[in-house]
């Protein structure tokens, strides 16, 4: 019974058959070059293993973390490598996976052949199993050499230990520890006589699959790579439509949204329990979940106007979040649909518990952090670090009777020229959110003073989160930044380096389509620039020589 064996199993055999053998014609053109490598993230790794070997395989261990670059963790995957301590983690995780894949319970489902004798080596069965595992894990067929050495390992261990599956286990372990699995290798071929370079079909399949499904290519996508279908525009469009029609698109976008809104950081936030006794892990998890539900519902299920994320009053509340929102929870299920009233002063993502608590201090709100986050995350306008050698306490002296509230203290920045250039961009935004405390609950007073949430930004005056939401919704940088980040997320590039030349075409589609996200996803994934890469360095060097 191999029904659940999603990629390998019998169907992967079909892919291999379609290619006329086990060996990849990797360098038929002789021109293929490695154009980049992206380290698999923890989420990608987990989904990949689940989709290849089934959900019953547990993945447990320590992963190397990514680093956020220009707003995205994904952008660091093209720069990071694997440390000794990180590889130790991957080796352990891989070994535990391999042991589970070949154990007696899973074997009938996961190993595609039965050895002639369970206590001896069987090269043919090992080769069949390993070529299928290899295709799934390396996202391309193994080369003859790669397969040969692993079959040899499997045979030797099987003979030495008198156990075929033991041999298979360690050979599979070697696939899972390989850089060809742990990194998504992106290979490119020249087009237009070498004027530009584009990804070859297997690398295209991989880029598409991790963007749209947050996981490894499935059988049909690998087959489309093998047949050359993915080398054509029509072939790409057909596969993109197929991937987008799947419910798994939500998993893909969930990963992107989490990176985009930095929701991964929620788990690391500490709140001071003596000041905020209502805040706990259930709130942190619930808050992330709420935001994701709103994002997926509005953008994918309702296919609504993306910009409404700044203004919508519709949300979902669970039992942990209800007391912080001050909403009675009377609902049978886990997540209660809720629409705030106009008087509640809430406005879209800006006033979710997730975002308000993320960009605050443990025991107090932070107008500057909130303002910087809005400008940086939603507008792609990173604010530089404050200059060195500034004595902040001069403008933060709470004992000064003129500087009692945060607003008064921050206003002092405006009089300092070096501070003003940046603080004038961030602080008005953050001050308009001051009605919400460090965990996102409403408050009328700060330090005993009535809160003034009015602000002026770029000549526009507004009041509170509702006013801010309207201003941001109508700012063209908001959808533009989102489109750039989606592209950078998908390609592993740096958002700031995604220029109009690259984004204009799919941004225009997004605008003309009424800011509907599915249209943007399709436009990004089918654009030629999504697969375009700079000429590999070795080629640039040889061009210079000639």
């Amino acid at each position: 019974m191999r029904k659940k064996f999603v990629i390998s199993g019998l169907l992967a055999g079909a892919v291999l058959a379609a290619m006329g053998g086990l060996v990849l014609a990797q360098d038929t053109s002789g021109q293929e070059r490695l154009a980049g490598m992206r380290r698999l993230s923890e989420g990608e790794y987990r989904n990949t293993i689940r989709d290849i070997f089934g959900a019953s395989i547990t993945v447990q261990g320590r992963f190397e973390p990514e680093r956020r670059i220009a707003g995205l963790l994904a952008s660091s995957t093209t720069l990071l490598s694997i440390t000794p301590s990180g590889l130790d983690g991957y080796l352990r995780i891989g070994d535990s996976i391999a042991a589970q894949v070949v154990d007696e319970k899973n074997r009938p489902r996961t190993v595609p052949c039965t050895p002639r004798a369970a206590k001896a080596a069987d090269s043919a069965c090992a080769a069949e199993a390993l070529s299928q595992f290899g295709l799934a894990l390396f996202r391309r067929p193994l080369t003859a050499e790669e397969l040969k050495i692993r079959v040899a390992l499997a045979d030797k261990i099987a003979a030495d230990t008198g156990n075929f599956h033991n041999g298979l286990r360690y050979a599979l372990s070697s696939l899972l520890a390989s850089p060809d699995f742990l990194f998504r290798k992106e290979r490119a071929v020249p087009v237009d006589g070498g004027k530009s370079w584009t990804l070859e079909p297997y690398s295209r399949a991989t880029r598409l699959s991790y963007l749209l499904w947050h996981s490894t290519p499935d059988v049909a996508l690998l087959a489309a790579a093998a047949s050359g279908e993915l080398a054509t525009e029509a072939g790409v469009a057909k596969q993109v439509d197929r991937l987008m029609a799947s419910p798994r698109l939500e998993k893909g976008m969930e990963a992107f949204y989490s990176d985009y809104l930095e929701l991964d950081r929620g788990g690391d936030i500490s709140k001071d329990a003596t000041i905020y006794p209502k805040y706990n892990d259930a709130v942190a998890q619930g808050a992330r979940n709420e935001t994701m539900r709103v994002m997926l519902e509005l953008t994918l299920r309702q296919k609504g106007d993306f910009r409404d994320l700044m203004t919508t009053r519709k949300t979902y509340i669970n039992r942990a979040l209800a007391p912080i929102y001050g909403v009675p929870f009377n609902f049978d299920g886990e997540w209660m649909p809720h629409e705030f009233s106009e008087k509640d002063g809430r406005s879209g993502l800006l006033t979710h518990i997730s975002t308000l608590s993320l960009f605050s201090h443990p025991g107090r709100s932070s107008p500057t952090n909130r303002g910087v986050a809005v400008v940086d995350i939603l507008m792609c306008q990173p604010i530089p670090q404050p200059p060195g050698d500034i004595d902040f306490s001069l403008i933060n002296d709470a004992s000064n009777p003129k500087l009692k509230t945060v607003r008064q203290r921050l206003s002092a920045h405006a009089t300092e020229k070096t501070c003003a250039s940046c603080h004038n961009r961030s602080d008005p935004i953050g001050l308009s959110l001051e009605h919400f405390d460090s965990i996102g609950a409403w408050r009328d007073l700060d330090n005993g003073e009535k809160i003034d949430a009015t602000a002026t930004l770029g000549g526009q005056s507004f009041d509170g989160a509702v006013g801010l939401g309207k201003v941001l919704r109508d700012n063209p940088r908001f959808p533009q930044c989102f489109a750039r980040k989606m592209f950078a997320y998908g390609t592993g590039g740096n958002t700031i380096a995604v220029t109009p030349n690259t984004y204009n075409s799919f941004l225009n589609t997004f605008i003309n389509d009424g800011y509907r996200v599915p249209g943007l996803i399709r436009a990004v994934a089918t654009s030629p620039q999504f697969f375009q890469v700079p000429a590999p360095v070795s080629v640039q060097a040889s061009n210079q020589k000639t």
Partner: protein, 444 residues
């Protein structure tokens, strides 16, 4: 079908296993020839770092005099029991030359690499601990162990260069499992024998390295460096596995403890002060049983957001926003946080000093560099970053002194450390941080 020579030489069965202890390197021996009570072998020198954020309060920690018998100061009160076993290093400066002073980064990165970084959260080279581990890790199970007491997965200052840092253990249980969980066999067990699984894992890594040359061809420089780092990691893991094939050296008379209980690990001061000694004890036992010879512990990150429950000012925020109390002459809340950082350090020293081995303690046979990102965090100043160098390094370092650097480069500390660890090195650092002057006052 042919396998490489290397692959076959390994052998993979029980029967072909040769149990062999790896000798300690001569250069890391105690000159006095102190021997292990149990085995008669010399005691190796271990190295550790302790990082804390946001510096110290000059008015509260700086002794008025230098040399021996320097004055006790309030912020260093918790370190008093170890005064004779440590040196206080003040007045050393991190130079950035044409590069910017990257706030809460340039100072500590320069101390760790001898080289001012060009970009935030990037190291301009390998960190000191990795260089040292590269030379002394042979024969131990792990090249190094990293620990973040605040539970932050990104909090590690150990790197082979660039943005990559060695991921830390972020809970006592995680650290326990790494050191004494699956794959660890108590060396005091009478029937200790190597785990055949280790040899099979060696053969797995062997296969992985087979493709190395093919992978290295036609790769751009940046990706080539990343692949090199990957293969360096493979080699180091191979060394670790090789070490697992022989019974770990029981350097001291320690018992392997039971697994610690589940506890909250976060940035609240009471939790930090509870978790740190537990992490330190596990590390100390890990050193004593030769699971590793190098560790890196972070108490709190640069620009630390640690907080005291009930007080709305987190540490970093306080350094910048809290006014200097005119009567006291310093920032009271900020300076309290710095005191906690020193309490954390004291608890690490206590654990190292609490394990007896040979004629002294684990601390006597170790060298621990405690350092931070700034001197006066309020101004992001990187001249006069305070450091503590603890432990006698097996008789290579004279202790009990306060040394003032007089504005000379922080690299002098790194150079001294490496020389004490046995490196034949006469110069370290780049540009203005380059130096050939070790801290002669403390070198024996």
């Amino acid at each position: 079908m042919s396998l490489s020579r290397r692959f076959l030489l390994r052998g993979m069965t029980h029967s072909s296993l040769a149990v062999m202890s790896l000798p300690f390197l001569d250069c890391f021996l105690n000159e006095n020839g102190t021997a292990l009570a149990a085995t008669g072998k010399p005691i190796p020198t271990r190295f550790g770092t302790y990082f804390w954020g946001c510096g110290l309060t000059k008015a509260l920690f700086m002794p008025a005099s230098v040399g021996a018998n320097y004055q006790d100061t309030p912020q260093l009160a918790s370190l008093k029991p170890f005064k004779g076993k440590m040196n206080l290093l003040t007045g050393f400066r991190a130079f950035v030359d044409e590069k910017p002073n990257i706030q809460h980064w340039s100072g500590n990165a320069a101390i760790a690499t001898g080289n001012a970084p060009a970009n935030d959260r990037e190291f301009a080279g390998e960190t000191l601990d990795m260089t040292i581990a590269g030379a002394i890790a042979k024969g131990s199970r792990y090249k190094s162990i990293e620990v973040a007491c605040s539970g932050n997965r990104n909090e590690s200052f150990s790197s082979l260069g660039g943005r990559n840092t060695n991921p830390p253990e972020v809970s006592p249980i995680g650290l326990y499992n790494r050191l004494f969980g699956a794959g660890f066999q108590d060396p005091s067990n009478a029937d200790w024998k190597p785990d055949p699984h280790v040899m099979l894992q060696q053969s797995v890594l062997s296969v992985v390295t087979e493709d190395r040359q093919k992978l290295m061809a036609s790769v751009g420089a940046a990706d080539k460096a990343r692949l090199e780092q990957y293969f360096t990691s493979v080699r180091e893991l191979e060394q670790g596995l090789a070490a697992e094939l022989s019974r770990p050296e029981m350097i001291a008379d320690v018992k392997i403890p039971a697994s610690p209980e589940e506890m909250i690990v976060n940035k609240a001061v009471p939790n930090l002060l509870k978790v740190t000694p537990i992490m330190a004890r596990l590390l100390a036992i890990g050193l004593a049983t030769n699971q590793t010879r190098v560790f890196n512990m972070s108490f709190c990150e640069p620009a630390s957001t640690m907080y005291q429950p009930g007080d709305s000012y987190p540490f970093h925020q306080a350094t910048h926003e809290e006014p200097v109390d005119e009567a006291l002459g310093y920032q009271p809340i900020t300076s309290k946080f710095s005191e906690y950082c020193m309490q954390g350090l004291a608890s690490v020293l206590a654990e190292l000093d609490g394990i007896r081995e040979g004629d002294g303690t684990l601390l006597d046979h170790s060298l621990l560099l405690a350092y931070t990102d700034t001197s006066n965090a309020k101004l992001h100043a990187i001249d006069g970053i305070p450091m503590v160098l603890a432990g006698g390094a097996n008789g290579k370092i004279k202790t009990g002194l306060h040394v003032a650097g007089g504005g000379t480069t922080v690299s002098r500390v790194g150079l001294t450390v490496q020389q004490a660890m046995g490196f034949l090195l006469d110069s370290w650092g780049t540009q203005s941080n380059q130096t050939n002057r070790p801290i002669s006052e403390i070198v024996i």
